[in-house]
């Protein structure tokens, strides 16, 4: 019997001329929690698909229990006890918890007729193995993400899994849900099942994993027991360079120009109360708080999406009444929403069109669009934002999350925005892109004199990039951390005190 459950030896995978994996070796012991880290495009997904039997490696050897396996198909992979939980979980929202759990087993047994009593027993056993209870008759689509994930894990465990591969399992979870997930993972580990986490979230990796393998550009760049690693070391391995964690210092401009944005006594019935806020050119101000504190409502009010507010808003000393989005844009306020995918981008459309979506009015001659000027403006922006794509005509859905975010930023710069409100600017973006986006935001503040209001739940992000952080609670500003006491601990303590 081999020491390893699954061994990949010098696996390479090429797609046409493109090398996705270059002689990568990865070995997983029975019952260990292993983490596979890497940025988007590092080859993580390719290696998962090779383990799942979806792809065949171009070169290299796969061993299961020490025995070489060739021509592995998804069915073989499942027979050997390898189960992959993809990010979308592959669940059926319209079916009950019970049926989602029992389906796989019934399919494996090649049944033709459904025995509902047995299905119920199967489902109960599956949940019992994870030590959770759940309403078996509820439709899966009514469950929160964490519940869906539990079902996906339970379903994988049921079919005698020995290795469960989880792709970005913590992306949509809150902290207590992540803790619950880790409890379950340790529990199934105790039953002798190995778990491979595929993630780019370093803190969580350090918390749960026993061993770590890091990929970069299709190559393995680091591996070893987790005790050999710390956050900066993993970041360096993933991105290939050290990332700045210098905090942002704001230098007030000489002379006394009016503040970029001044908000006086702003209230929205039922969500925010009596907000006073002053942002100067070049400032990056963080807005922190618990979920539901009214941060998004404040952003929406400033952006003209909540016309029921009372109070005054001035931009560069001129009073504005953002009753509609058009007016907000016209007065120089830009808002990059939390969910850029559903609220901000037209995915199948080109980068160029997405960039122009809110500023086309500035590029018209008569009733026609001035194509020369739009092309010049967008290709300039394309270069300035360092978007990794063949050209401005590439559809936005071909871009990674970080690059998509840059397209959204570019769009607002083209409108001539002077106040930029960012809501969760790097949610779902990997470490390297995140650093680049942060750098871009700082440049915009310093060079273009923008005032930035950054709403985020990411404590390190706020502390690193803001010159001060305002804490909001139940619709009011309750506290502010100035440049002298900007530490993660200071912010964390204050956030904890809110509960």
């Amino acid at each position: 019997m081999s020491e390893y459950l699954l061994e990949l030896n010098n696996i390479s995978k090429r797609f046409g001329g493109l090398v996705a994996l270059d002689a990568v070796s990865l070995a997983i012991k029975p019952g260990e929690i292993h983490c596979l880290a890497g940025e988007n495009g590092s080859g993580k997904s390719t290696i998962i698909k090779i383990m799942a039997g979806v792809y065949q490696p171009t070169e290299g050897e796969i061993r299961i229990d020490g025995v070489p396996v060739t021509g592995m198909t998804p069915a073989h992979s499942v027979q050997h006890g390898i189960q992959v939980i993809y990010q979308d979980f592959s669940l059926f929202g319209n079916l009950s918890v019970l049926e989602n759990l029992a389906l796989n087993t019934m399919l494996l047994e090649k049944r033709r007729v459904v025995d509902w009593t047995r299905a119920r027993n199967l489902a109960e056993q599956a949940l019992a193995r994870l030590g959770v209870t759940m309403d078996l008759d509820a439709d899966v689509e009514t469950l929160p993400t964490s519940g869906k994930q539990i079902i996906a894990i339970a379903r994988a465990v049921m079919v005698n899994a020995r290795l469960i591969i989880m792709d970005e399992p913590t992306t949509a979870l809150t902290r207590p849900e992540v803790d619950a997930l880790f409890r379950i993972v340790r529990d199934i580990q105790a039953q002798g099942i190995a778990v491979l986490f595929v993630s780019h979230k370093m803190r969580e990796m350090l918390e749960i994993s026993e061993r770590l393998t890091v990929l970069r550009n299709g190559k393995k760049v680091a591996e070893g027991p987790i005790t050999d690693f710390n956050e900066p070391k993993i970041t360096r391995a993933m991105t290939g360079h050290d990332l700045t964690d210098q905090s942002y210092v704001w230098e007030p401009a000489a002379g006394d120009s009016p503040p970029r944005l001044e908000v006086r006594n702003l209230s929205v019935p039922g969500s925010i109360e009596d907000i006073n806020l002053t942002l100067h050119a070049g400032e990056i101000v963080g807005l922190s708080g618990l979920i539901g504190a009214g941060r998004t409502e404040l952003a929406l009010a400033l952006f003209g999406m909540n016309p029921k507010f009372t109070g005054t808003v001035t931009v560069d000393g001129r009073e504005v009444h953002p009753a509609t989005v058009q007016e907000a844009i016209g007065s120089g306020i830009a808002y990059v929403p939390e969910d850029r995918l559903s609220e901000g981008l037209f995915l199948p459309q080109s980068i160029e069109r997405n960039m122009l979506a809110t500023s086309l009015n500035n590029f018209v001659r008569g009733i026609f669009i001035d194509r020369k000027r739009t092309a010049a403006a967008t290709s300039g922006m394309f270069g300035a934002m360092q978007i990794a794509a063949p050209g401005p005509q590439t559809p936005v859905n071909h871009l990674s999350g970080g690059n998509q975010q840059r397209v959204v930023l570019a769009r607002w710069l083209l409108t001539g925005a002077r106040v930029l409100i960012l809501n969760g600017p790097t949610v779902g973006v990997d470490v390297g892109s995140k650093a680049q986006i942060h750098r871009k935001i700082r440049e915009l503040a310093v060079e273009n004199g923008l005032a930035v209001l950054m709403i985020s739940d990411d404590v390190p992000e706020l502390v690193q990039n803001c010159n001060r952080i305002i804490i909001m609670h139940r619709g009011r500003f309750v506290d502010e951390i100035g440049p002298d006491s900007l530490h993660e601990d200071a912010l964390n303590d204050r956030l904890k005190a809110l509960k």
Binding site: F89, F92, G93, N94, N104, L107, R112, V113, W116
Partner: protein, 325 residues
């Protein structure tokens, strides 16, 4: 508790309420004569609706089934007359097979070319109607020429009564065939893996193939099933009205789809039940029947059917969205 949350329960409540209101406006509604007539009118729409239900659960839509029904009916009766065949069982088997065969075309196009079911079935329906009129014939076959055995079969009554005015009326035995097919459809959807794969396909097609369902087979079963029921219903319709009209059933697809949507099936796929569909069909037929009793013009009936589709779809869409929040 779960009973009250189920959409079937709500549909049943609305149905009962509607019956009471209609009964108040027109007490003749509750006469046995009228009720038996209503049930009789349920049979054909109901059988067609069962097929559409399965298609809609799978996430598709079918508007070709009325064409298939007419084609199966007209072709079968033509051949029967040509050979002077006098049986009943064999023609029904033949009509069902014709429907199945035509349904396979729908599945083939939808699967092989990943085409939108609405476009495919609009196309196949039009082609089949055109071919029928162009190649088979355009003339109606009326009671003189209709195979008498078919008419006799469809005349079978479960209960025969004589009204006060001396006319005879009865409850057609065809209702048993309808309920039998409904029961079969229910058992198929609920208790076979193939039936569950229809729900899986309608809920999450990508996940369905990933967990190991053969979605190609499912697609074929779904459209062939709808075609088979259409073929069967077509011949039964001809037998019940003693007439084979190759231009029959025009516009009926909307009524059937309205009935299925009214019965709580989701136009987005993944949801629907046989009991709901039975209730939906009854409701639709009852409303149309009441409009006739109240002497509302047939053109206005189209307005009512259209409104029913819009309102019922809006309600189910609203229900589905609420669940997601």
């Amino acid at each position: 508790m779960t009973l009250f949350r189920r959409s079937e329960f709500i549909i049943a409540c609305i149905l009962v309420a509607a019956m009471i209101i209609i009964g108040l406006i027109n007490p003749a509604f509750w006469s046995l004569d009228n009720l038996f007539g209503l049930l009789r009118a349920n049979v054909i729409i109901g059988i067609l609706a069962l097929g559409v239900l399965v298609v809609m659960i799978s996430g598709g839509i079918d508007v070709s089934f009325t064409a298939f029904a007419v084609a199966a009916m007209y072709l079968t009766i033509k051949v029967m007359i040509y050979y002077g065949y006098g049986g009943v069982l064999l023609p029904f088997v033949a009509a069902t097979l014709i429907g199945t065969f035509l349904g396979a075309f729908n599945a083939f196009f939808i699967h092989s070319f990943r085409m939108i079911p609405l476009i495919v079935t609009l196309g196949t329906g039009s082609v089949v109607r055109g071919l029928l009129l162009g190649l088979v014939g355009t003339s109606m076959i009326n009671i003189d020429k209709m195979p008498q055995q078919l008419i006799a079969f469809a005349k079978t009554d479960l209960i025969s009564l004589t009204s006060a005015s001396g006319t005879n009326f009865g409850l057609t035995a065809m209702i048993l065939i309808y309920f039998g097919l409904a029961l079969l459809t229910h058992l198929f959807l609920r208790y076979t893996m193939m039936g569950r794969s229809v729900f899986a396909l309608g809920g999450a097609p990508e996940a369905a193939s990933r967990v190991g369902f053969n979605t190609r087979n499912t697609l074929f079963v779904v459209y062939c099933f709808a075609g088979a029921l259409a073929g069967f219903a077509g011949l039964l319709h001809g037998s019940m009205i003693w007439l084979a009209n190759p231009r029959d059933f025009v516009g009926l697809e909307l009524d059937v789809i309205a009935a299925v949507v009214l019965g709580g099936a989701s136009i987005f796929g993944g949801r629907g039940s046989v009991i709901g569909t039975l209730l939906g069909v009854f409701m639709l037929v009852m409303v149309k029947n009441s409009l006739i009793i109240m002497k509302v013009d047939t053109t206005w009936q189209r307005v009512v059917v259209g409104l029913i589709i819009i309102i019922a779809t809006a309600l189910t869409a609203w229900r589905d969205r609420k669940k997601l929040v």
